[in-house]
């Protein structure tokens, strides 16, 4: 154990935490909104579109994250280039940092997983709730916003929390496409003097602390939302 190295490298690894968190938050925010839309489309049984999203969700859920990352990393620059030349702009793809491609892959994956969570949560809300809302003159949109979503969200939260912790772990895979997040930074720092043990023990500790923090935060929020949940199981 080389404690000198640990003392020197720890701040540098810690400095990479914001990159990991950026990837996690960005893909969770966008991915979950997409997931909610997909869930509503599939719930509404809109023909063709809902089948297409069904296939999308099944594909995204069964293909490993690494492959998604590679596909996004190799395809996106081409697509952006082509789109640019179609609208008459020459976009320099090389200035786009790889973290963008990583976020893109992560958010598609999150969209697929969270759409299933939202779908089951919305189905878990009693149909009578919606009918009651409509009967007192709410519009369809209002019934969703005021009655169904708060209850569905309370049911979905435990699953979303699991999903988010999984996402934080999955950001470590962005290492493959050259994003300098926690794992890649530790790998880089450990190379010159082969301090693998020290570097990865520090990485493990950081990930553990992150997962403890997020678990605690979600548990707090779950307690807060309990008031919506009690009435569900009437």
């Amino acid at each position: 154990m080389d404690f000198g190295f640990m003392k020197e490298a720890f701040p540098q690894i810690l400095a990479a935490v914001p990159v990991t968190l950026l990837m996690a938050f960005a893909s969770a925010c966008i991915g979950w909104i997409l997931g909610l839309l997909i869930a509503l489309i599939r719930k509404g049984r809109i023909p063709v579109i809902s089948q297409i999203f069904g296939i999308f969700v099944s594909f995204m859920r069964s293909v490993p994250m690494v492959i998604l990352l590679y596909i996004s990393y190799y395809v996106m620059p081409d697509l952006i280039n082509q789109y640019g030349s179609n609208i008459g702009l020459s976009i320099d793809v090389s200035v786009i940092p790889p973290v963008v491609y990583a976020i893109f892959a992560l958010l598609l994956n999150q969209a697929a997983y969270s759409s299933e969570v939202f779908r089951s949560a919305i189905s878990a809300v009693d149909e009578g709730q919606r009918e009651a809302a409509l009967s007192i003159g709410m519009t369809e949109f209002q019934s969703y916003r005021r009655i169904i979503f708060p209850q569905a969200f309370a049911t979905a939260l435990p699953n979303l929390s699991g999903l988010f912790v999984m996402l934080v772990k999955d950001t470590s895979l962005a290492y493959y496409v050259g994003v300098y997040e926690i794992t890649a930074t530790a790998n880089l720092l450990s190379m010159p003097k082969l301090n693998f043990i020290e570097a990865y023990i520090m990485t493990t500790v950081i990930y553990e602390v992150l997962s403890i923090i997020f678990n605690k935060l979600f548990a707090l929020e779950e307690n807060h939302l309990k008031k919506f949940r009690g009435k569900l199981v009437a």
């Binding site: 594909f59 069964s62 895979l173 450990s190």
Partner: protein, 232 residues
Amino acid sequence: MTYHFENIPSLIMSILQAFPVTCEILVVSLVISLGIGCIVAIGSLSENKTLNKIAFTWIAFMRGVPTLVMMFLLFLGLPQLMTNIGIPISTTNKLPYIIATLSLTSSSNMAEMMRASYLAVDKGQSEAAYSIGMDGFTTLRRIVFPQAFGIAIPMLGNNIVNLFKETSLAFTIGVVDILGKARAISAASFGANKLETYISAGIIFWAICLILEGTFNVLEKVYTKGRKKATS
């Protein structure tokens, strides 16, 4: 850049040559992780406070650490540590490292699965078994386990699919599994068909996951048919 998507079927065939390796990783780490999971589940269900603490710490720890970091820790770190204390271990055979990584990280999911399905069986079932004179082990074998197994099937299917997806990390340390083979093919053509190769690998994973899911759905239907729902 032009893509040749018509090559995908032939690419799939050549990538599938590496399927036995992936299968080996999956099956061996599944068996080991079920074993570890069983021990941890017993610990988490026991009345002993220390055992309980150890089991829950294990579950929380293994859930928090990314598989990739675990793999680096075992493949790069462990040999170094062992050499330092005087027991050099070789890294020429890489399969044991990926198997150990996957067994450890998925053992927490397996333990949680076993714990949840054991607790889902009504307590009255084992009490009834005791009342007619069965001992602890017979009760577990004849009454609790068959019911818990039915509850565990969907979760087991899910865990196996996740484990199968994580085997794709094996290429990182140089094992030629499905993704490793795909990368070799892509490198042999100097990256000209990398998109097609990765899509082919993705299709293989998708197909196998669908087969696994289908199998477990059928298994659940067949197994729970005619049995009373244990959760009632």
